[in-house]
Symmetry: C2
Subunit: 178 residues, 2 copies
DNA sequence: TTTTAATGTAATGGC
DNA sequence: GCCATTACATTAAT
C-alpha cells in the first residue's frame, strides 16, 4: 500500500558517515532510523541541550549542526501544526456554541409565547377586578361587549414582549392579585 | 541596507538534474528589487505560466527554476497566512456570538422569572376555582393556612422552568380561565 | 508519460 | 537559538 521508498537509495552518504565526504553534493533525506530516533528524542524533550545534541549526533552519525537544524525545523513544523489544531478546536467550540445559541433562542421564543399566553389568561381576572372597582364606583356595569382585545388592559402583542423588562411596566397589578 | 548579491545562479547537479550550468557557488537571498518585482508579479497573478516565468526570469536575471521555486514557496507562505487570518476572523465571530449568547441567556432568565411571576399571579384564581369545586364536593373549606407554597397547584420552581415545554405540563388550566 | 500544484523537508543567513 | 527564506524532493493530480 505505502510506497516503500528505501532509505538507502536517497542518502548517498553512509549513515555512519560523519561529514559528507562528497564536496559538491548536498546530502538530503535522513534515513528513517535517524528520523525515528530524532522524533523520539524530540517527543521526550522539545529543547535540545548541547550535551544531548552531541550525544544524538554521535549516535546518529550526523554533524551536530544537522541535529540542531533538524530540531529547529521540527519546532517550526510543530508551531504551524499548533495553529491548525487551534483553528479546529475553535471551530468546534464555535459550532457547539452556535447550536447552544440556537437552542436558547428557540427556548426564548417559547418563553415569550408562554408569557403572552399567561398574560391573556390574566386578562379576565384583571377585567373582573376592574369591574368590581367600577361597580363600587358607579354601581353600573355593562361588560358583555368587552372582549379580551378591548379590555381595559392593553392587549399584549409582540412589541411588548420584545423587551422583557418593560412587558408589564405600564400596568399596575390589582392589589388582590399580588 | 541590503547586501547586494549578484543574481547569478548557483546549484549543483541534482539527482533529477535541472538545467544547471552556472558554476557559481552558493548565493542565497535575492535582492530586494528582485523580491519586490516577484511580489508584485505574484499579487497580479498567483499562477505562473511558463511564458511569464521566462519573462520574469529574464527580467530578474534569474534561472527559471529559481523563479518557479520562489512562486511555490510564496504560495505556501500565502496558505499559512490565510490560516492565521481565518483563525482571527473565526475568533472574532466566536466572541461576537458569545456576547450575543450571553445576552440571550440573560433575557431568558428574565423571561423565566416573568413566567414564574405570572404563574404565581394566577394561583389565587386557580385556588379560588379549586375552592369552589371543593365547596361543592364536601361543603367544607379551610383555606386560611394555605399559602402559595402549599397551594393545590405545585409551586413553580427553577426545575419547572428549565424546560419550557414542561413548565405547565403537569397542570390543567381551570376551565374558567381558558 | 510529462507537467505541475501541493506538500514535506533540509539548509542558509540574519538578528 | 529563533525566524523567515531559499531550495530541493516527493506525491497527487492532470
Amino acid at each position: 500500500m505505502d510506497p516503500n521508498y528505501d532509505q538507502e537509495s536517497r542518502s548517498r552518504s553512509a549513515p555512519t558517515g560523519e561529514i559528507d565526504n562528497q564536496p559538491a553534493e548536498k546530502k538530503r533525506r535522513l534515513t528513517v532510523e535517524q528520523v525515528n530516533m530524532l522524533e523520539k528524542s524530540f517527543e521526550e524533550e522539545n529543547k535540545l541541550e548541547p550535551e544531548r545534541k552531541t550525544e544524538l549526533a554521535k549516535m546518529l552519525g550526523l554533524p551536530q549542526r544537522q541535529v540542531a537544524v533538524w530540531f529547529q525545523n521540527r519546532k517550526a513544523r510543530c508551531k504551524i501544526m499548533k495553529i491548525e489544531r487551534d483553528y479546529d478546536v475553535l471551530k468546534a467550540c464555535y459550532d457547539s456554541l452556535l447550536a447552544k445559541h440556537e437552542s436558547v433562542i428557540s427556548e426564548n421564543e417559547k418563553l415569550k409565547s408562554k408569557v403572552f399566553t399567561l398574560t391573556e389568561m390574566l386578562l379576565p381576572a384583571a377585567h373582573q377586578t376592574q369591574r368590581n372597582l367600577q361597580g363600587k364606583l358607579n354601581s353600573k356595569g355593562d361588560d358583555e361587549t368587552m372582549s379580551s382585545s378591548t379590555a381595559l388592559v392593553p392587549l399584549a402583542n409582540d412589541h411588548y414582549f420584545t423587551n422583557v423588562d418593560e412587558t408589564f411596566g405600564w400596568w399596575v397589578w390589582p392589589s388582590n392579585l399580588m
